[in-house]
């Protein structure tokens, strides 16, 4: 029997082919090229490119930045989504818009904001200078810019999940005598854990991969203020292609892990949602 929305095989085949060609051209090929270039001179050269002191410093700085930005944004995301989903308060719409701000603003502008604030000519520059504190062209600036650019990820992921869950389970817990902390740990968190995980994965990927904002505030000091993406650019500009691709392959690998984790989380949360649908009515 023909279903109403079944297209002729020719149309289906063409559409599918277009999609596959597109994916191969713009996704699989570049990805393969990265790894191919990285391993061009053999495994030994690949490993030694990663173990070069400057590359190693960039890796450490990137890990440090993510280790600060992701937990901060996890806390912020949980607080913001909880407030937005569970309470009515004036300015809720504004808060929602503000959370999206880093998505709307070019990362370069985000970086500029911090230079204007903390740079030597900036608003707080003289005060920082007087106290011998360095933010711009130093690690704190990089962390700040990364936190700013990545703060929507966890919140954006959690707000719809929390809104869909509603308040009833929390209210039930409260009537049963649970305190705020108990409600959060025993009722809310288990219900949103897949959303949290997904948000953290995306936040981490962006924190490690951010280029624009970090580039503005970093100052590109080798071995000190270069993150992985910045280091890749430097190596590339020096025509050191093999090393550039070797370091870049780390980010490509991170992207693959993110995608994998993402589909795993989606699969788990879909299963959780499906098992939540009401069973047959029978007493």
């Amino acid at each position: 029997m023909r279903r109403a929305l079944t297209e002729p095989p020719v149309v289906r085949g063409t559409l599918l082919a277009v999609a596959v060609v597109f994916l191969a051209l713009f996704l699989v090929m570049p990805l393969a090229a990265v790894f191919a270039q990285a391993l061009e001179k053999g495994l030994g050269a690949y490993v030694s490119a990663l173990r070069a002191p400057d590359a190693w410093a960039a890796i450490r700085l990137t890990l440090l930045t993510a280790a600060v930005a992701v937990p901060l944004n996890l806390v912020f995301g949980l607080a913001a989504s909880w407030a937005i989903a569970k309470f009515e308060f004036p300015g809720k719409g504004t808060l929602l818009t503000l959370i999206d701000l880093p998505f709307a603003v070019s990362p370069v502008i985000s970086g500029m904001i911090f230079v204007l604030l903390f740079g030597r000519q900036g608003l707080l520059g003289p005060w920082l200078g007087a106290h011998d504190l360095k933010v711009i062209f130093a690690v704190p600036g990089i962390v700040l810019a990364t936190v700013f650019v990545t703060f929507p990820f966890v919140a954006r992921e959690l707000i719809p999940v929390m809104q869909a869950l509603g308040n009833e389970e929390e209210e039930a817990a409260r009537v049963l005598g649970a305190g705020g902390g108990q409600i959060f740990l025993r009722v809310t968190l288990p219900n949103v854990k897949w959303g949290v995980l997904y948000g953290v994965i995306l936040c981490n990927a962006r924190a490690m991969g951010e280029f624009g904002a970090v580039s503005v505030v970093s100052g590109h000091i080798r071995g000190l203020t270069n993150t992985i993406p910045l280091h890749v650019e430097i190596l590339y500009n020096e025509y050191n292609f093999q090393a550039a691709f070797a370091v870049a392959s780390l980010l490509a690998f991170l992207a693959l892990v993110t995608l994998l984790a993402r589909s795993l989380v989606e699969w788990r949360s879909r299963r959780a949602v499906r098992s939540d649908e009401p069973a047959r009515e029978a007493a």
Partner: protein
């Protein structure tokens, strides 16, 4: 433990959900808050529980003002309309929750919790489902888990929001008979919200009829059904035929009907309506003694213990009458036939 609600008002923005309501629920009774949606019944229930704070007025449990007592310490059992079971916990853990979150000193031992939860699950006949998740249960089973969970904290009052609202008709009837028996066993002061008048009249000791945030009438199911205090109660509970007209000088003139109405002896004419239940309408072929009206039979439903007649008067307004099977067989009315209808009993309310 008795519940007293005194002059409670609750507003949501410009909408007054509960308007200066006072109710007393005697200890051990099962009371229904009955009303259409938006009548304020759920808001009132949530105020009693402490889930909402009233804008004015107070709630007393056994004479004790609850204003300063948070919902956490009020010791109420609350069954939510959609059960609000913890979806990631098993049935057992759902019921155990209220015991597990107690402060360390007051928390029962693991063995005591286990014994108590299994006792409650036996009470609601679900002990064989202890390890299931809520998603694996039917609506009726979820309802009973929610009840067991509410009872686990040994509440002093039990509050149920539309407890049978999302179940299908047959399970609903079974479950409400079961709830009534359970209440007879444990005698816990209970209040439940419903929009279903049949449910309220069937289960409750006492019915509180609400409309637009106010109480229209309080009384036993029989009082509310037999002696409705207002036209709203008359029309909301059970069907009725309406005869519109006026009252003047001790008489009511309601369309074709003219009856004595000693409650209004003024010469001034006031609009009024008379109401009769379908089974209070006498249907015949002859104008015996007057005081009735001629109607046309549109439809007869002979199924069931009573025969329902769908009638329409000269202006095309429809009204329902109910005859016993014997009356119907004696009458032998056919569709399209003209019949004479006369109310045996008429409740007259002056409008406004």
């Amino acid at each position: 433990m008795s519940i007293e609600v005194r002059n409670v008002t609750k507003k949501f923005g410009s909408f007054t959900a509960v308007d200066d309501v006072s109710v007393t629920v005697p200890a051990g009774e099962l009371v229904a808050l009955l009303g259409p949606s938006g009548s304020g019944k759920t808001s009132l229930l949530r105020i009693i529980a402490g889930l909402e704070a009233p804008d004015a007025g107070a709630v007393f449990f056994e004479g004790e003002d609850q204003a300063q007592r948070d919902v956490r310490v009020r010791r109420v059992g609350f069954v939510f309309q959609h059960y609000a079971l913890f979806r990631h916990m098993t049935v057992f853990e759902n019921v155990a929750f209220g015991l597990r979150v107690r402060p360390r000193g007051a928390r029962p031992s693991a063995a005591d919790i286990r014994a108590k939860v299994m006792d409650l699950l036996k009470l609601v006949q679900l002990d064989w489902l202890a390890d299931r998740r809520p998603s694996e249960l039917s609506g009726g089973q979820r309802q009973r888990v929610a009840l067991a969970r509410a009872l686990a904290v040994e509440p002093k009052v039990l509050l149920l929001d539309e407890p049978f609202g999302s179940l299908d008709a047959r399970i609903r009837r079974e479950l409400r008979r079961w709830l009534r028996r359970l209440h007879d066993d444990i005698r816990l002061t209970s209040v439940f919200v419903t929009h279903d008048q049949e449910e309220a009249l069937d289960v409750a000791d006492r019915v509180v009829v609400m409309n637009r945030g106010r109480i229209e009438q309080m009384g036993t199911p029989q009082e509310v059904f037999e002696h409705p205090a207002t036209p709203f109660v008359m029309t909301f509970i059970g069907q009725s035929a309406v005869f519109a007209g006026t009252v003047q000088g001790g008489k009511a003139f309601l369309g074709p009907l003219a009856v004595d109405y000693p409650a209004h002896l003024h010469d001034e004419s006031r609009p009024a309506s008379g109401y009769a239940r379908p089974h209070e309408l006498e249907v015949s072929r002859v104008e015996n003694g007057g005081g009735g009206l001629w109607v046309t039979l549109r439809h007869a439903s002979p199924a069931g213990a009573v025969v329902k007649l769908e009638l329409s008067d000269a202006e095309g307004r429809s009204l329902q009458a109910e005859l016993t099977r014997e009356q119907s067989e004696a009458l032998q009315a056919r569709v399209g036939e003209r019949l004479y209808v006369k109310p045996r009993k008429l409740r007259i309310f002056v409008d406004g």
